[in-house]
Amino acid sequence: MLTAEDKKLIQAIWEKVQGHQEDFGAEALQRMFITYPQTKTYFPHFDLSCGSDQIRGHGKKVVNALGNAVKSMDNLSQALSELSNLHAYNLRVDPPCFALQLLSQCFQVVLAVHLGKDYTPEVHCAFDKFLSAVAAVLAEKYR
C-alpha cells in the first residue's frame, strides 16, 4: 500500500512534527471534539476544556504512537499490536475506522495549518494513506 516514495515523504514530514508532539496532538484532539462532538462520548472522564492537561497529555500520547508507527511502516501490524488490542477490546471506538477517520481528518488539518504550502498534494496523499493504514490496523481485531 505505502510505496517507497510515500514512506520518504511521511518520514520527511514527521521531522517537522518533532518537538511539537504535544501541541499538534492537543490541537488535533481539540479540533476533533469541536468539529465532531460525538467523539467526546469516548472521553466522559476527561476535562475537555481548551488546553486541559488531560487533552495535552493524551494528544502527546497519540502523536508519539503515530511516531512509532512512522518508524515501523514496514510492519504496522506488529508495531501497533498492543494498541490494536486496546482499541478493539477496551476502547471499542465504534464504528471501526469511522471515528478514527475523524481524528485523521483533524490531524491532517493540523499539519496543513502548520505546514501551509509544504503540505503538498503528494504529502497529503501519502499521509492520508498512512493514517488509513494505521486506522485499519487498529480496527483489525474488532471481530
Binding site: 490541537e27 481539540q30 479540533r31 469541536i34 468539529t35 465532531y36 481528518q105 483533524c106 491532517q108 488539518v109 496543513a112 495549518v113 502548520h114 505546514l115 501551509g116 504550502k117 503540505y119 498534494p121 503528494e122 497529503h124 496523499c125 492520508d128
Partner: protein
C-alpha cells in the same frame, strides 16, 4: 432545515470572501484526484491524469475545479435553502453522472485541508467546525435527490 448561528454565518462569509475560487477549486479537485485516485473514473475525457504533476497542471482539472467551487458559492449565498439550491445538481449527479455521494464527503474533507493549508493559523478550530458542517450539509443536499 439546518440552523446557522450568527457566528457560523460570519465565519462562512469571511472565509469565502478571502478565497480565490479558481485557485482553491483547482487545488481541491486536483487533490481529490491525487489522494483518492478512484475518483478519476468520473473524468475519463480529461486527458493526462497520470501523475500528481500532470493532474495539477491539467487545464481541464483547473477549469472544472473552478466550476465546482463556484457552485459552492451558491451554498454560501443560500445557507437557509440548500436542498432547493442543489436539487437540479443532485439529479444531475445521480441520473447522468452516476457519482456515489460518498465522493461529495471526500471532496468536502479535501476542501477543508486546502483551506487549512491556505489560511494556516487563521483556520481556527471554530472555523474548521463551521466549514466541516457546511461541506457536510452541501454533500447531504447533493445526495438528496438520489434514487
Amino acid at each position: 432545515m439546518v440552523h446557522w448561528s450568527a457566528e457560523e454565518k460570519q465565519l462562512i462569509t469571511s472565509v469565502w470572501s478571502k478565497i480565490n475560487v479558481e485557485e482553491c477549486g483547482a487545488e481541491a479537485l486536483a487533490r481529490l484526484l491525487i489522494v483518492y485516485p478512484w475518483t478519476q473514473r468520473f473524468f475519463d475525457n480529461f486527458g493526462n491524469l497520470s501523475s500528481p504533476t500532470a493532474i495539477i497542471g491539467n487545464p481541464k482539472v483547473r477549469a472544472h475545479g473552478k466550476k465546482v467551487l463556484t457552485s459552492f458559492g451558491e451554498a454560501v449565498k443560500n445557507l437557509e435553502n440548500l436542498k432547493a439550491t442543489y436539487a437540479k445538481l443532485s439529479e444531475l449527479h445521480c441520473e447522468k453522472l452516476h457519482v456515489d455521494p460518498e465522493n461529495f464527503r471526500l471532496l468536502g474533507d479535501i476542501l477543508i485541508i486546502v483551506l487549512a493549508a491556505h489560511f494556516t493559523k487563521d483556520f481556527t478550530p471554530a472555523c474548521q467546525a463551521t466549514w466541516q458542517k457546511l461541506v457536510g450539509v452541501v454533500a447531504h443536499a447533493l445526495a438528496y435527490k438520489y434514487h
